[in-house]
Structures are given as C-alpha cells and as structure tokens.
C-alpha cells in the first residue's frame, strides 16, 4: 500500500519534478530511467516495443485499442495511464504483460476469456501495478545480486524477465516474469485500483478461478488428471492461482459490493467484431476440454448464441469421434435456429453428416453451401465431395 501512496503523491508533484527526483513514478510523462540498470532495461524494452509496433500479429483495430486504453485509464486513473502504450497481439492464450518502459501487451486469448470489463480491468490493473512498482527493475537487481542456488534457479526460470515483445507461446497463463512477492504485491495494488475505479471487487478472484478451472478441464480433455497445485512450491515464481483467488476473494469480501459489472455490455460490444476469429483460433488448438469449458463460460453470460453454437459444433467435428460428429450436427442445427447465417455452416455440417454416413443429408447441406456461394474458393472440392 505504501508504494501506491508514495507514487500517488509523487505523481501529484507533476512533470516539473521529473528531472530532479530519481524516485518519480515511471509513468510520469517524459520520465527518464535513472540508474545504469534501469537504462539498460528501458533500452531493451524500447527495442522490443519497436518490433511489437511493426509486428504483423499486432491487432490494428483502432476502436478496440481505444476501448482497452479507456478501460486502463478508468482503472488506474488518467494521470497514470497517459504514459502507457497498449498493444493487442494475436496469440490464442491467456496472457498480458507490461514492460518497464510502459509497453502493455494484451493477448487476444485473454480478451476471449475475460467475462466482462471488470475482469479485463483486473488484469490490466495488475500488470500496471508491476510497472508502477518497478518490478522489472527490482527483479533484475535482486537476481543479479543474489548468490544462492535458489536465486540462480530463478534466473534460469526467468530468462524472459524483461520481455514483453516475446511472442513465443508459453503454457496457458504462465506469466513467469516476476517473483512471488512481486506478483502478490501487484495483485494487491491492482485490487486497490479496481476498487477505486468502482468495478465489482470480486472480478480479480473470478479471473483466477476460471483460469484454474479451464486448466483442469484441459488436463482432463487430454486424458490427464486435473492437476491444480494447491500450494506453491519453493521455486514457483507465482502464487498458485488458488492462493490468489483466495486472498483476492478475502479482499473483495471486505468491500462486499454487488459483484455485478454494469459495463459488461460495453465489453462484449467492443470485442464482438473479433469474436468469430478468436473462437476459430481457440477451437483449432486441439484442446477439447479447455475449449468446451470456455464456451460454457461464455454461454453462461450471453446464452448459446449462433456464434457460440457454431464454435461448439466445430470443436466436436474436429475431435471427430462418431458421437462427436452426431453432436456437432445438432449444434450446427442449433446455431441455424439461433440465427447463425454464414454459409460455411452448411459446408461443415455437410462434412459431419458425410463422415457419420448420412450421405444424402450431407449432400443436401453441401449443395446448400454451393447454392449460397457458387464461386467459393473451395467450391470445386466441395462439388467433388457431392459427386463422389
């Protein structure tokens, strides 16, 4: 709490003090890194940001970016958010991170998983807290100075410490940049932001609860035991998701608000245009358990829309057991009834039917696809299926 207050006071001092006071918060406009370590980190982060800016995987949707920046500003305050550049990167996994120079990166998989604006705000606030508390610098110094075995192992586990433009996919939710105390500090400061901004206070705990449940569902789907570790090991860089969920829930209990996010509709409107593409990327990850859980969660909020039913049908069709193919046809039909109108539904339903041995019904669906888009890029191949 102390760094939060100190930072707030320093922020109030304004940019005039920027030159003189080395302990100014890093979000001050025109802030220059002061020490050798900090300059090094910023230089590296600047280079990564340049790559990120030019990356083909960066989502260049002005409206979405404006909305996300707006949520960040609402969460941490106008003064703080001014020094932040936010980038959305097309990676279908849960992650967000922030570099010491004020670059915030949000993966599309995180946006797909946030249930409402409050959950998004919880994640953005948490990442911003790392930035405000200078965790990138603190972690770097700590690791450099320490000499015991544990600290060296932390170096090996934290090679991506300064990374933000690092697009290598890692395990779901594995944000290994900071150590456990730092994560907990960021959780608590992030929680203060959330409460101050008027978001429902249990949003942060929901994020971790659903992430845990999805990881369990993924494990079961891959034929493994659900394996949430319910206590953090000595070398773990993060508090376990369960521990996070617990202390965040305890904090939320103290406030005891309604738990409803009045801005949930704004969030769904902001991501609506991207939803089909993000769902498609998720469905093709061969993660039946996790994706099914995710779809259930999304449907719990919005009901089974045509879009969600189509995604579910695709998920079952791609797993492809005989019972899955039969289920997929049911979901395709459900999507049609729910108003899904893309022609590709007929093509994919036709393929499910053919694979189930329902040849004439399959042909009918494929012919409907060809009638709707006679010059589709795959029309010749689909026609060949009908004529086989």
């Amino acid at each position: 709490m102390l760094p939060f207050l100190a930072a707030a006071l320093l922020a109030a001092a304004g940019p005039a003090a920027a030159q003189a006071d080395p302990s100014l918060p890093p979000f001050t406009l025109g802030y220059e890194p002061t020490s050798v370590d900090e300059r090094g980190l910023w230089m590296d982060a600047d280079e990564r940001e340049r790559r990120l800016r030019d990356s083909t995987l960066t989502v260049r949707d002005e409206a979405l970016n404006r909305y996300l920046k707006g949520v960040l500003c609402r969460t941490v305050g106008e003064e703080r958010c001014r020094g932040v550049r936010l980038y959305v990167v097309e990676v279908p996994a849960f992650n967000a991170n922030m570099a010491p120079n004020g670059t915030m990166v949000v993966w599309t998989g995180m946006l797909l998983r946030a249930r409402n604006e409050a959950e998004l705000a919880a994640v953005l606030g948490h990442e911003f807290a790392h930035f405000e508390l200078r965790h990138g610098l603190g972690g770097f110094k700590q690791r450099r100075n320490a000499s015991d075995v544990g600290a060296w192992l932390a170096v090996l586990g934290g090679l991506t410490n300064a990374g933000t433009g690092d697009l290598q996919l890692s395990l779901l939710g594995s944000v290994y940049q900071f150590n456990r105390e730092q994560e907990e500090a960021a959780d608590r400061l992030g929680f203060q932001y959330l409460a101050a901004a008027g978001y429902p206070s249990d949003a942060a705990t929901h994020v971790w609860q659903t992430l845990m449940a999805e990881q369990d569902a993924t494990a079961v789907g891959h034929g493994r035991k659900p394996k949430q570790r319910y206590a953090a090991g000595f070398f773990d860089t993060h508090p376990t998701s369960l521990k996070r969920a617990e202390y965040l829930a305890a904090e939320a209990g103290k406030i005891g608000d309604s738990g409803r996010d009045p801005r949930a509709a704004d969030y769904h409107a902001a991501i609506a245009g991207h939803l089909p593409q993000w769902l498609e990327a998720q469905v093709k990850l061969n993660d039946f358990g996790g994706t099914e859980y995710l779809l259930q969660q999304l449907a719990a909020d919005s009901g089974w829309t045509g879009e969600l039913l189509f995604a579910r049908a695709e998920l079952y069709r791609l797993r492809g057991n005989p019972r899955d193919l039969a289920a997929s046809v049911g979901f395709y039909r459900g999507a049609l009834s729910a108003g899904y109108s893309e022609a590709r539904l007929y093509r994919n339903m036709g393929m499910s039917l053919l694979r189930s041995g329902q040849t004439s019904e399959g042909h009918t669906a494929l012919n409907e696809y060809l009638r709707l888009i006679p010059d589709a890029s795959d029309a010749k191949a689909v026609r060949a299926l009908v004529e086989q």
């Binding site: 075995v149 697009l167 791609l318 010749k380 299926l385």
Partner: protein
C-alpha cells in the same frame, strides 16, 4: 552452479533430439521410398534432403534452406497418428489422423497442427480443388500463414490424398515475397512426377 545447470540443460535438450542423419543431395532422376513410404518422384533439378526428420512419416526437401523453400512429404500417416512428432505431447498434443476423414479435412488437419506445433497464429486456406496424387483422387489446396517465431508471411501449396486410411500429403512452402513464385515451377515439375 549456473554453468553446471546450463550444461545439464543442454545435455537434456540434446537427449530429446534424435540423432541427425545429415543432409544429402537429391540429384535429378528417379527417387523411390520417399518418407519411408511408397511415394516416388523424379525431379529434373537438384534438391537437398534434410537430415532432420519432423516426424516418423515426414521427409523434408529444400533448395536453399527450409526457411526459404521447403517441400514436405508426409508418406502415409495412419489413423491415430499426428502429422508431426509432437513437441509437447502432454500439454499441446497434435490432432490425429482419423479413419473417417474426408479429403477436405486434410487442410484443417494441417492448419491445426501448424497452429499448435509452430506457433502459427494466423493461417488461411485460400482455395481447394480436386486433384490426383500418384493416380489417387485427392485435393490440391493453397494457403498463407505467419508463424510467431519469425513473422514472415509464407505461402504454401499442397496435394493430399487419403489412401487406405492413410494420409499422403506433399506440400511446398516459401516466403510470399519473391521465393514462393521463384521455386513454384520446380515444385510443380516435382509434383507432376509423384507416384505411389
């Protein structure tokens, strides 16, 4: 401690990678038993066969290095097997070939495998049409993709067929700028001579 652990990690990494057989020149003329299968081809120019094997049923040919131009032969992947050797079988398993697959499922199988194995976050199947592979009815398709590893846009063209529940697939991939068009005729010549 650091050096020791690094060494231990390197050894562990090396142990996980199968021994490399070395690259070899593919001279013009007939070549049988490609990808340890019944596939054969008769290129009229030189290629190089990579010693690296991306899977039990996979063989890689290139002219200038596989990031610039690559022909991948999948020689009869049976039902229940993935296209590639799985990099993280436990956490990120690849989709498997299924006995009920249609030829139009081949592009999706490839797409899904790429998304999982090669961090390909953006990929589109551009068009598909019937074709023959070694005399068997199959599918020719073209695609475009970007891998998060190098963010180069690549194009691909592939011919696939399902013969006795096994997937045979031959693909050519190269960066969309310059390289794809440059070596496409060589791939077409190669593809025209494929036999099974």
């Amino acid at each position: 401690m650091f050096k020791f652990t690094t060494l231990a990690l390197s050894v562990a990494t090396m142990a996980a990678v199968p021994a490399l057989a070395g690259n070899a020149l593919v001279s013009p003329g007939a070549h049988k038993g490609i990808a340890k299968s019944s596939l054969s081809a008769t290129p009229d120019g030189e290629w190089n066969r990579l010693g690296r094997r991306d899977g039990k049923f996979v063989e890689l040919w290139t002219k200038d290095g596989d990031s610039l131009n690559k022909v991948t032969f999948f020689g009869g992947v049976p039902a229940g097997e993935p296209l590639f050797r799985e990099a993280d079988k436990k956490n990120r398993p690849l989709p498997k070939v299924s006995g009920t697959m249609l030829m139009t499922d081949i592009p999706t199988l490839l797409e899904s495998s790429y998304r999982i194995q090669f961090n390909v976050n953006r990929i589109s199947i551009d068009d598909q049409e019937p074709a023959t592979l070694g005399g068997h009815p199959g599918l020719k398709f073209r695609y475009t993709f970007v891998s998060a590893d190098d963010e180069v846009e690549r194009k691909g063209e592939a011919i696939g067929a399902i013969v006795k529940d096994r997937v045979f697939l031959v693909s050519y991939e190269a960066p969309a700028i310059y390289f794809f068009e440059k070596d496409l005729p060589a791939f077409h010549q190669l593809a025209a001579t494929l036999k099974m």
